[in-house]
């Protein structure tokens, strides 16, 4: 059993858009999450998902990292927006349904408003994709107009 709360409690996402399965390791500013690419998951076509979707895995792992930190501090899960992606490298064109992936994220600089995370997606020990994500944070979703 995981030592961490269910992933749904750490992310602002819901339903099928929760692509991660669990938070597997955490320390302040760093996290590791796991997922198995679901055959019927979003973005999966004919058993394959474009490696560009790794960006969403990375973004959700960053959200889980910050979400758990917020829960430990007694706060609610915060929302964020990816505003930049630098140095995205994909070692494969696509991932396959059934792939068991590990997503590692590490904050390299940040404050309450903007942060930068070094992110990597691995299949076993094999790197699949990497990027540096820049995120804008806020306590709540913008008010609906």
């Amino acid at each position: 059993m995981s030592a961490y709360p269910p992933i749904e409690e750490l992310l602002p996402h819901s339903g099928a858009m929760v692509l991660l399965d669990e938070l597997t390791r955490w320390q302040r500013g760093e996290a590791e999450c796991a997922l198995r690419v679901r055959e019927r998951g979003p973005f999966v076509k004919a058993g394959r998902v474009s490696s560009v979707v790794a960006l969403e895995y990375m973004a959700q792992a960053v959200a889980a990292c910050l979400g758990y930190e917020a829960l430990l501090g007694g706060g609610a899960v915060r929302v964020g927006m990816v505003i930049a992606c630098k140095r995205f490298d994909a070692q494969v064109d696509h991932l396959r349904s059934g792939d068991l992936l590990r997503v590692e994220v590490r904050c390299i600089q940040g404050n309450d408003t903007l942060s930068h995370f070094d992110c990597q997606v691995l299949r076993g020990a094999e790197p699949m994709a990497s990027a540096v994500l820049t995120l804008y944070h806020a306590p709540n979703l913008p008010a609906a107009s």
């Binding site: 927006m81 505003i83 930049a84 630098k86 140095r87 390299i108 600089q109 404050n111 408003t113 903007l114 930068h116 540096v132 820049t134 804008y136 806020a138 709540n140 979703l141 913008p142 008010a143 107009s145």
Partner: protein, 258 residues
């Protein structure tokens, strides 16, 4: 792709409102030199950001030197970050304040704002496009421009620029000052044979040393464009690296008729 001719250059940076000021290395007080955006009509100038006006100034200088038709020339705009400070301001408004957005600021926040404003503000009906590729932005913008020159057989204006990096948006000590540069590229067969030529960007080893730049310019993702302008104006032949060692190693060759 075969080389193209360089018929004009332009630039804007704090203290250096044009290429002549830069080549003389005689900076004016930065506060006295704001980008003017004189290429733009009054309405467009009013709504243009400082970055868009700086790009318009560099664009205009290259356009005038090359004597190209401002109403029809194709253009490529390369920005690593785009209108980042405007975008962050809008996010603050949306997420932390009343959420009421200015449509004008929204239009000015997108990555292709400069391409749109310069195109509309100079009544240009030619093709225009905008791209970003981090520290490889100059190389990718030139690649796109050469492809357009060869596809359409027409001149292309390439304008690359980034505003001073907004606080906290770039990591570590990577901050930089505003810098915009422009090149007017024309098909070789339509160019004065004395004009320097530029190869398609490729990954290789440079043979020309980069220019001596103040740190704030050297850190800007567009610094390689300034290195290229420096080499062109010095009359150099050889290979210029376009990313200052922080991208994927793209270079261009400057060729001249013997």
């Amino acid at each position: 792709m075969s080389p193209v001719a360089v018929a004009g250059v332009g630039m804007f940076a704090p203290g250096y409102p044009n290429t002549a000021a830069w080549l003389a290395r005689q900076p004016l007080a930065a506060d006295d030199v704001a980008p003017q955006g004189t290429l733009l009509d009054k309405h467009s100038r009013r709504r243009a950001s400082a970055l868009t006006k700086a790009l318009a100034d560099a664009y205009r200088e290259a356009l005038l030197e090359a004597q190209l038709d401002p109403a029809g020339v194709a253009s490529v705009f390369g920005l690593a970050l785009g209108e980042a400070s405007t975008m962050i301001g809008l996010l603050e408004q949306m997420w932390k304040k009343d959420g009421v957005l200015s449509p004008m600021r929204f239009a000015a926040s997108v990555h292709n704002a400069a391409a749109g404003v310069v195109s509309i503000g100079s009544k240009n009906t030619g093709l225009t496009t905008s791209l970003g590729a981090d520290f490889d932005t100059p190389a990718m913008a030139l690649y796109e421009a050469l492809a357009i020159v060869h596809t359409h057989g027409e001149p292309v204006l390439v304008a690359c620029g980034d505003e001073a990096a907004p606080a906290d948006l770039v990591t570590g000590d990577e901050g930089w000052d505003c810098l915009t540069c422009a090149l007017a590229l024309v098909p070789v067969e339509r160019a004065d044979p004395r004009l320097p030529r530029l190869s398609v960007p490729f990954r290789g080893e440079p043979t020309l040393a980069p220019a001596q730049l103040p740190r704030g310019f050297a850190q800007n993702p567009q610094a390689g464009m300034l290195d290229l302008i420096d080499a062109l104006r010095r009359g150099d032949c050889g290979r210029v690296r376009l990313d200052r060692g922080r991208g994927r190693g793209y270079c261009v060759d400057i060729l001249r008729a013997s």
